[in-house]
Symmetry: C2
Subunit: 738 residues, 2 copies
Amino acid sequence: MSAASDSVPRGATAGTPAGLVTPQRLAEFFAPRSLALVGASDTSGWARFILAASSAVGYSGPLLPVHPRHDTVFGLPAVPSLRDLAEPPDLAFVLAPTAAVTEVLEDAAAAGIRNVVVLASGYREAGRAGRELEADLVARAASHGIVLLGPNCLGFLNTGAKVAPFALTVPLPLTPGPVGIALQSGALSSALLAFARSQAIGVSTVASLGNEAMISTSDVLDYLIADEQTKVICLFLEEIGDPASFSAAAQRADQAGKPIVALKVGVSQAGQQAALAHTGAVAGDDAVADAALRQLNIIRVASIEELLTTASLLGYQQVPRGRRMGVLTASGGACDIIADRASAEGIEIPSFADSTTEAIAAHLPSFAAARNPLDVTGYVLANARTSPLTAIDHALDAALADPGLDFVIFTGFTVPEARPADERLAELLESRIGWLAERVRTAPIPAIPLSLTCVDIGPYARDQLLGHDVHLISGMDLGVEAIGNALRWQERRGTVRQLPGRRPPLRAPAAWSEARARSLLDGAGIPVVPGQLAHSADEAVAAAHAVGRPVAVKISSAAITHKSDVGGVVIGLHGDDEIRAAYARVAAAAVSTTGAIAGDPAGEVLVTAMRNGGVEVLAGVTVDPNFGPVLAVGLGGVLVEVLSDVSLRVLPVGADEVARMLGELRGLPLLTGARGAAPADLDALAKVIAGIADVAVALPGLQALEVNPLWVSGDQIEALDVLVVTDEIADEEGEPDR
Amino acid sequence: MSAASDSVPRGATAGTPAGLVTPQRLAEFFAPRSLALVGASDTSGWARFILAASSAVGYSGPLLPVHPRHDTVFGLPAVPSLRDLAEPPDLAFVLAPTAAVTEVLEDAAAAGIRNVVVLASGYREAGRAGRELEADLVARAASHGIVLLGPNCLGFLNTGAKVAPFALTVPLPLTPGPVGIALQSGALSSALLAFARSQAIGVSTVASLGNEAMISTSDVLDYLIADEQTKVICLFLEEIGDPASFSAAAQRADQAGKPIVALKVGVSQAGQQAALAHTGAVAGDDAVADAALRQLNIIRVASIEELLTTASLLGYQQVPRGRRMGVLTASGGACDIIADRASAEGIEIPSFADSTTEAIAAHLPSFAAARNPLDVTGYVLANARTSPLTAIDHALDAALADPGLDFVIFTGFTVPEARPADERLAELLESRIGWLAERVRTAPIPAIPLSLTCVDIGPYARDQLLGHDVHLISGMDLGVEAIGNALRWQERRGTVRQLPGRRPPLRAPAAWSEARARSLLDGAGIPVVPGQLAHSADEAVAAAHAVGRPVAVKISSAAITHKSDVGGVVIGLHGDDEIRAAYARVAAAAVSTTGAIAGDPAGEVLVTAMRNGGVEVLAGVTVDPNFGPVLAVGLGGVLVEVLSDVSLRVLPVGADEVARMLGELRGLPLLTGARGAAPADLDALAKVIAGIADVAVALPGLQALEVNPLWVSGDQIEALDVLVVTDEIADEEGEPDR
């Protein structure tokens, strides 16, 4: 984490020509059949790691050490330079120090090498000089048609291609499987692989992304989407450097049915948005990233354990078609724990069908009840020595046929550490495992085996489970959480749209007068509460009669953003005299605050109708430096200001997505009729808000557009107050009629 | 789900004489030196489990099978009845079926046996006949001076006394240690022991509580508090059957400095159903149980993993004296994950002192920054083959001396699965482990080693860690969560008070008139907004002048609880004519609704002053069937009604605890000056609310006492509206002046 002023987001190095890093090139890059290790020596820990990783994946191709001063490295013959190799290897892994990397790259080009990994650090992460060095590296590689991973990265491993130019410990055994992993913190991959190993979770490609000078997170996403072995993608993200290409890749993943699960850190970093509008205060960096991930149907998780458990569920299991869960356990306590966890995830545990209850009851002791969640009781365990099948197995058969369930979880698939010494018991056990595995494979709905807690799958269990192509999910807590994640992914499929991405830095802001802001919305067909400008007390009275009383009388001036603070707002006015007096006070406040003379646009007075009852909504758009315009929707007043009860989306969004935003608000009951109010027309409200967002997105130099409140009463919707802020320069150039 | 009328909570069997289940008797009960197994046979799975468990704990005393039809059991000589034993064993474990239990108990008594475990089910959880059977069992045991665990329980194991009359699988190896465990779902103990084994967490006594016919959860708590080996207590709770004794035990635990960690299920309705099915007991309202656990300084957790990780931290580590954490890792990604998790727990990661930074920097590569959280970088790992100490070790030394830190967590204590084959490496490693262990033992502040993820501690690591008396916490996610739990426990110590516990069932309710309810508060010194009864329009006007305008005019009648619904409230009245008119309307509404004549107490009219500005608070007391009177505090209006933003406590509480309740409200900023209001005097507010609670607790036949709103503006506090409901019969008997 370097200082903010020093840091440039990933994926921002200019110089990679379009068409160099293609999916075809990456498929080649991640499956080299020969490797050179440049800078490897017998004392290099990095090289030792690469050798061990190569052995872990069963690599059988050539490993060609290159070192200026050693004849042999780890017993292998070495050459002084890449130029001395007889044939170009498919990939060169450069372990050489930073100062030597440029020369090595030239050597690689001269040797005809097309793919390079650079481990050295001291580039973009090391300030201005490092950034220049990195730009030079990229330009040089590009000019030679070389595709480069890194610098400041630990390489990758690919279990399908059995190759591992990967300079980090790989816990053994490493299981090939459906989970592809890309990390912005390479050193963390050992931790991920250790947990994957402990739960027998198989991986496809694991890539450390480093500085992403050329190959970006989005590129690796595209590679993993195209990779046949990969069924689900895990990301460790410190930032989303290039929202446009990242979101395009996420959209392709969604279309391809490959879920992405992301551990995105940075929750604790304070938001850096200046808070001119309310919206800016609630749209902090992490909140916007969180919204973006949700829009991209990327499952955001909070721990490595949740990341890999969710991925393993999605990689090994069919996703349930709905939320109705059957639960089979051998402990009432386990039923309770699962039920609590399911409730938190919005997963239902409906009653069994009568036929299911009957079928299960036939295998239970008389004192046990055949209900969902099912506790077959410890009695069953204590008496399971004569048949390979226990009551939980029979119950599984029955529950999988229940028409009212979408999936079944069961905790009866625990395999002991070691094969039982008693051969008869061992045979019974293995016969039961085979029977269960067959049931899981052929089940009409997903049958998901869970362990009770997150403990390692031992060697015997690993062999038995892998041998039967069954995957056991790691414990009730992580397991039910993973199911919740998978269901949400399933439910959001098909809604992913590309995001526009980074905006140029904001310039000096200029606030619009309220009258001008109202005209902007009105001109776009957004309903705005009736109002008229008044330039005299008489005009104010006339305006009040025209718009309907009671009215508010307020300053409309580009020069005054906090009009209440200067006495520029009077509300609840009925009588003509009241209105005249209010006009005089407000006009005087405007003149004294702005120095304008009465009638000047800087000192104009606006008379608007007031609304009673109903619910006040906030609909605001601000501009995130990384993601561009962001829409915030919340319920006005206390809920937004005190509880930050808002839903965010990166724009553009349609009305359907705005409807989902409304559905996320804790205060939603206020809109659906709590406290005796008429239920709001949520569809109409979503359309109006989507329209406001469209106006904001189309506005040149947008900095903020906030309607607060947007008043809703049944199907009546009106913007009561509007704030618009744009770049001063855009404002001056684009709007001569100010 | 059985009908509520069928279920009786645990600990509610009458018949156990006071003085039978004493701490002394329980110390004897849980450490028997000889065991009889009644009903054991070669085909009994239960008996097989007991033999295996006995072997797991190293039991060396006699195991005496008793069976009416077998001469030998598992190769041991058996006798037909307990009466045939030469000497009474210290404890008899009764595996016999329900129908035989009574006879076995008589045999035990005749043989002079003092302690019995009963496994059979079919008692309280099985309806009325079962309840009678259980009462008979208890009465019989008590009459013989026998202490009984169960029925419907799986027994216990005690690693200190090396005895295990425990009819469930014990995963091996079983490590003796500081964690005592009591479970209301015995079958779950295998899952707990499996996780404890995987993390090398040592246990003292593990007890399955069953129906708690005689030995209750509270009794076992008291035993564990007195047990020297036990440093921390884990509970799995389906219900808190007897709040009075449970809370008294929790208070003793707090005083003794033994933390209690509880996995209490029943958050979801489905969970409550499962609890009912399993134990035949009523689960109380989860929110009240949650409040009670917080008051008792019992750490409530959501999973088995969190339960045992928190307990292991508390059992093996000194609790940090504050929230300032140093973080040492070998991965920037790990730093980010820990920082996010710490932020969620309210744990600070302050900058290192300059001296710490200098000391650490000396051991880092030049490109790595010596800041908190510290990433010593993978470079260090790759170059750690020449000295036993790595940069993370030197950093540990420096950080432990930092005056600005309260504790340090570090992820550098990971030990490989097996001893390295290279003897030099193995010696370096073991030398390093010894060095680290010494640092952890002698550190001036807690030094807490964490693994990166929740993976098993392998056999070699277990030996190394146990050999050096070091405990490794299970992963960053669970680890930082456990630290947060421990800090909260530490901060709440000394605040635990006993709870009164169950109230008799509520009877027919009687609501009081508002005037009478106001008098009740006023008489107790609670500030009530000025108000007067009026029996005519003239009196209403006089009252308005006396209390100060604007006023509200409303019905004050015991017969009308929803006075707004019948037109019985008019608000915002200034002028005398308005007040006269309002009186007429309200009095008419009272008369027409109640049939009273004007002036009758049923048709009285109350004139109260109105208050503007400020914040409205809800302070209400209701009666929970299990815990008795419960105080709810929230901010009025939307926050309570829509967001359920309330804090609960079982009564009685002091003003200090009410202040903590206010601090828990999400809407707290409204009281501390958000939205421009004057900050409320929270101490004064807490005192008033505590006074209201005291009035409620002292009220005979209390059903509800609610002040809504309690108006707060700066240091002005007044009850604006008061509702009191008591048992009709208490009301009639106790209050003749109604």
